[in-house]
């Protein structure tokens, strides 16, 4: 299984998760994901995901002028985003626990 394939299903959740404690702009979010260990994540995927989450009303955005570079559009979780993070996070944790059990039982992990 390629990590990128797995990532497709959970990138939304990963983006919501890195925005939980701190707002961020696109490239910053990409960096946080990579630092967290999702090194395979693509720039376009993060950008596209942010646009989609924003369009679905899960994120708020605001622009912060920057002295040394372009304006940065910061994304922040709103109430709907937090609710989505909570419910999808729970689904993921159950799924992951199931997978872990499954692998343990089969002696693969």
């Amino acid at each position: 299984v390629e990590a990128t394939q797995l990532l497709k299903g959970v990138l939304d959740l990963a983006v919501l998760a890195v925005l939980r404690d701190e707002d961020g702009y696109g490239y910053d979010i990409l960096r946080r994901l990579r630092v967290a260990g999702l090194e395979e994540v693509g720039d376009a995927s993060v950008y596209g995901t942010l646009r989609r989450l924003f369009n679905s009303g899960l994120l708020n955005a605001y622009v912060v002028p920057s002295d040394e570079g372009p304006h940065r559009k910061y994304y922040a979780l709103n109430a709907a985003g937090r609710a989505e993070l909570a419910s999808n996070g729970k689904i993921w944790q159950e799924f992951a626990a199931t997978m872990n059990d499954l692998l343990r039982e089969r002696g693969t992990a």
Binding site: D12, G26, Y27, D28, G48, R52, R72, A83, K90
Partner: protein
């Protein structure tokens, strides 16, 4: 400033190439998707060395990834539900109940030395198959039987041999059925579940029946059901309907049958002497069909007892 300009040209070119690649989208959607891209790419460029194409790949590939992740092509990311469409009550209860059960399943796992309690239950499946076979055989026996008691074996017509054969057949069939793990369609699955529920119900009823019988039978025999418990005196009448006095009751072994209490009191409650053990009636004046004031009939007195 020059460097920034170069970056800007590079970014503009890259964005234009991406824009071309997503030309299929409606303009509004396209511009919405790309509106922040120049600023975003500026961050990418500022962060590291290398051209955009080197770092991000060809614009067409970038555009494809963008489309997929932004949800504009099938098979990419499914859109989250537009607005919190409240799930129905049944579904909500079901899902929260399910989550709680799964949690219980996991948390009680260590009790059975398994990651999940259900893993242990699954091991018990063959035991259920055997029990199911037994229950089916009992149901068959009671349907096929003539209504006589079948006991704990599925006897048909009181035959132990048929009982054992039927039992073995049903148990083996049940195990075979269990091991095959048939792929069942929805209607068949419902029938299977319903039949299983009925079988379990029958099993429980049979079990509690048996339990009751075993608990209460000894008491029943010990005399709670004795219909002669409150007999105080016995009155024997002859063929003509006359009261027989001094009668003796014997059982098949010639043993006198003792009933009641050999005491007699008159209407005023005074003791009347003369009553003898096992000679009935003890108290002829109390005969149920005697007319008031009528004296005991002296003609039918049989041989007095010694």
């Amino acid at each position: 400033v020059n460097a920034t300009d170069t970056y800007t040209d590079e970014i503009t070119a890259y964005v234009e190439a991406v824009r071309t690649a997503v030309a299929g989208l409606p303009e509004e959607v396209r511009e919405g998707l790309l509106e922040d891209l120049p600023e975003h790419l500026a961050e990418v460029v500022a962060d590291d060395i290398g051209t955009l194409a080197e770092r991000l790949g060809p614009p067409a590939v970038y555009a494809a990834e963008l489309l997929a992740s932004a949800g504009y092509v099938g098979g990419g990311f499914p859109d989250p539900p537009p607005q919190p469409r409240r799930p129905g009550l049944v579904r909500r209860v079901r899902s929260s109940l399910g989550a709680r059960l799964r949690e219980l399943d996991r948390s009680s796992g260590p009790l059975f030395g398994k990651p999940r309690a259900s893993a242990f239950l699954i091991q018990l499946r063959p035991a259920w198959w055997v029990l199911r076979g037994y229950l089916v055989s009992m149901v068959l026996a009671s349907v096929l039987g003539d209504g006589s008691q079948i006991g704990l074996l599925p006897r048909v017509g009181g035959s132990d041999l048929i009982a054992l054969g039927l039992l073995a057949t049903c148990v083996i069939a049940s195990i075979w059925f269990g091991r095959r793990q048939f792929v069942m369609g929805r209607p068949v699955r419902l029938i299977h579940k319903g039949a299983t529920a009925v079988l379990i119900l029958i099993g429980l009823v049979g079990f509690s029946d048996l339990d009751q019988t075993n608990r209460y039978d000894p008491y029943m025999n010990a005399g709670y059901s004795d219909p002669y418990g409150n007999v105080q005196d016995v009155f024997v009448y002859d063929r003509e309907g006359k009261l027989v006095e001094g009668a003796r009751l014997l059982d098949q072994n010639g043993q006198p049958i003792r009933l009641g209490v050999p005491n007699c009191y008159d209407d005023q409650g005074n003791y009347v002497a003369g009553a003898q053990e096992s000679v009935y009636p003890y108290c002829p004046r109390n005969a149920p069909f005697r007319m008031t004031g009528e004296a005991p009939d002296a003609q039918v007195v049989p041989t007095p007892s010694r």
